[in-house]
């Protein structure tokens, strides 16, 4: 593979992710309307005739993405919600990878394989992660009187814990591969202890893979958040009204908005659904591009050219 070929996925992915992070930070400041702003029903004079204007309003110069049924400006909601989508995802991914790497490296360098762990690993791989996440959240998340911060903390803790086993699994497998390589054997023969093996030989080798894993986990978390949103478990709390039954996202997090507005898919106001769906899809695809780019770079560095 040519060394200096431009890695398009990496560039576009990094730029998009950087853009999303900046958007998440400055979102509330650049939002055109307040978070609780609602467009009211009003009369407007058009060609001498009075016309009643009531939400949902389609996209216009005043509301770039339109408003929802309650009259909230969709662009503002997305800008307020961006920080939750991006930072919650990044934080959970960080916690998963951190804890997973520590446990995985130590399990991988253990003298004997831990059989109980292998059984857990094996079973965990086939359980769709959103089932336990849904059931654990469903008692907590809906109409809770807890502050948003506490609900966020519970959400982050729960999703981190549920995702750790799969990270541990792949780190453990890779550690075991590295453990059998010549240089680790040489270091052991020269008297290196377990810790120095991990810090000097195993972690430097895992560096790139851990970066890729961080991005892969971020995508998995976003997917999970989206699935939970489809079943009305939103990040930072669900507000449910009982008559009629409607669900609202407290934080306006993107995956939650996709779930909350999914009913509009069958209505004439499909833009209400398309706005959060578009934002969410762009976010996931940016991380996917970044992951693809990182993998390509990794392969370019370590890949040996095939002779056939």
């Amino acid at each position: 593979m040519q060394k200096n070929r431009m890695n398009l996925s990496l560039w576009v992915g990094s730029l998009l992710v950087a853009f999303l992070v900046i958007l998440a930070i400055v979102g509330p400041w650049i939002a055109p309307y307040e978070e609780d702003f609602k467009e009211r029903v009003r009369n407007v004079e058009v060609n001498g005739k009075t016309k009643i204007i009531s939400p949902p309003l389609p996209p216009s110069a005043d509301h770039w993405l339109g408003t929802d049924k309650a009259g909230s400006d969709l662009l503002s909601l997305l800008l307020y919600g961006a920080r939750y989508t991006i930072f919650v995802t990044l934080l959970i991914a960080f916690l998963r990878v951190l804890a997973g790497t520590v446990v995985g490296v130590y399990l991988g360098t253990a003298e004997q394989a831990q059989r109980w762990w292998l059984a857990v690993e094996n079973a965990w791989g086939y359980i769709p992660m959103f089932i336990p996440a849904y059931f654990l959240l469903s008692g907590i998340n809906v109409n809770a009187e807890l502050p948003v911060g506490a609900l966020l903390a519970i959400f982050i803790g729960l999703l981190s814990l549920l995702g750790i086993p799969s990270v541990v699994a792949s780190i453990r497998q890779k550690t075991e591969q590295i453990k059998h390589s010549q240089y680790v054997l040489a270091a052991t023969a020269l008297g290196a202890g377990r810790h120095s093996l991990i810090y000097r030989h195993i972690l430097p080798q895992l560096k790139e893979q851990i970066t890729v894993m961080f991005v892969t986990e971020a995508i998995a978390i976003m997917t999970l958040m989206g699935l939970l949103g489809m079943f009305d478990m939103y990040v930072g709390g669900t507000f449910m009204t009982t008559d009629p039954i409607t669900y609202h996202s407290v934080t306006h997090e993107w995956a939650g908005l996709v779930g909350a507005y999914r009913g509009f898919i069958y209505s004439a106001h499909m833009y209400i659904f398309l706005a959060p769906l578009g934002a969410y899809t762009v976010a996931v695809v940016s991380f996917a591009l970044l992951g693809k780019g990182l993998r390509q770079r990794h392969q370019g560095t370590y890949h040996r050219t095939a002779y056939l």
Partner: protein
């Protein structure tokens, strides 16, 4: 086997019992494992008397045992159809037609789509179906839960998207590896036909990989099954698990989840059997 089933039942009870154990009251999170134990004991007691209890569907209270079979049959048909479709398409595109430009183009498209989460693809296909109806007046999607079975192919096709993307990727990757092997070169050099080599050399070497990844394929299909049944209003086992609006129902959730696990195991073995039979008929003749 019995031990595994028992462990699975316990796991399902713990997972489904989570809302009974962990919940919020006023401003604190309550953790009460004893509540789960009493409910689980009650469930087992009911089962020993030959009933599975009742659940609420909308406004009416219904027997779980009465609804379990028709719901399970519906979910089973959907799951089996989806997985079979995925296996069929990915074997054809990833292996037998991989030599042709069009199949590779299709596969690149699938690769592009794999960046998007499966449930978003499900939503996109619904929007596409609605647009299609607007343009052509041909209806391919229905949301009426009691419509005829003719309409069940749309959920099936939508369900197959995720597993197809995954399995096609796996198969084509190994196709490229295997087709570079020396024994393929030898076979072609000896003048054997391309189809013969594909069936007798490539397929036989790819089959173990397909079988190894079949579990993962079924797992992907199952997690998409929830979304497809829920969004397309299919009357299946998902009804037991995610009750729209009604309070949480422990018995129904346990039965629904357990049935889905058993169904996925059944589907896994059925597809394996089918692959075996197909190999016997078409490859060994």
């Amino acid at each position: 086997m019995t031990k595994q089933l028992l462990a699975m039942f316990l796991l399902v009870i713990i997972v489904c019992g989570a809302p009974l154990m962990v919940y919020t009251s006023k401003e604190e999170v309550v953790f009460e494992p004893d509540k789960l134990v009493s409910r689980a004991v009650y469930l087992v007691e009911q089962m020993s008397h030959g009933t599975l209890g009742t659940y609420e569907l909308g406004q009416t209270e219904r027997e779980i045992a009465h609804d379990l079979l028709p719901f399970a049959v519906r979910s089973f048909g959907l799951l089996l159809g989806g997985v079979l479709l995925a296996v069929f398409i990915s074997v054809i595109v990833g292996l037998f037609l991989q030599r042709f430009f069009l199949a590779r183009l299709l596969q690149r498209l699938l690769d592009l789509l794999s960046a998007i989460p499966d449930f978003v693809l499900v939503l996109f296909s619904i929007m596409l179906a609605i647009q299609f109806y607007k343009w052509t007046q041909i209806r391919i999607i229905t949301l009426s839960p009691n419509s005829d079975a003719v309409n069940s192919w749309f959920p099936m096709a939508v369900l197959a998207i995720g597993p197809t993307i995954f399995l096609t990727k796996v198969i084509s990757l190994h196709y490229r590896q295997i087709s570079g092997e020396d024994f393929i070169k030898t076979a072609l050099a000896k003048g054997l036909g391309v189809w013969h080599v594909l069936r007798h050399h490539v397929w036989k070497n790819i089959l173990p990989i397909v079988l190894a990844d079949l579990k993962k394929t079924v797992a992907i299909a199952v997690s998409n099954l929830f979304v497809v049944e829920y969004t397309l209003n299919v009357v299946g086992l998902t009804r037991f698990i995610f009750s729209k609006g009604a309070p949480y129902q422990f018995n129904a959730a346990v039965m629904g989840l357990m049935a889905i696990i058993l169904l996925s195991i059944l589907v896994y073995y059925l597809v394996r059997l089918l692959l075996y039979v197909c190999t016997r008929t078409f490859v060994y003749e």
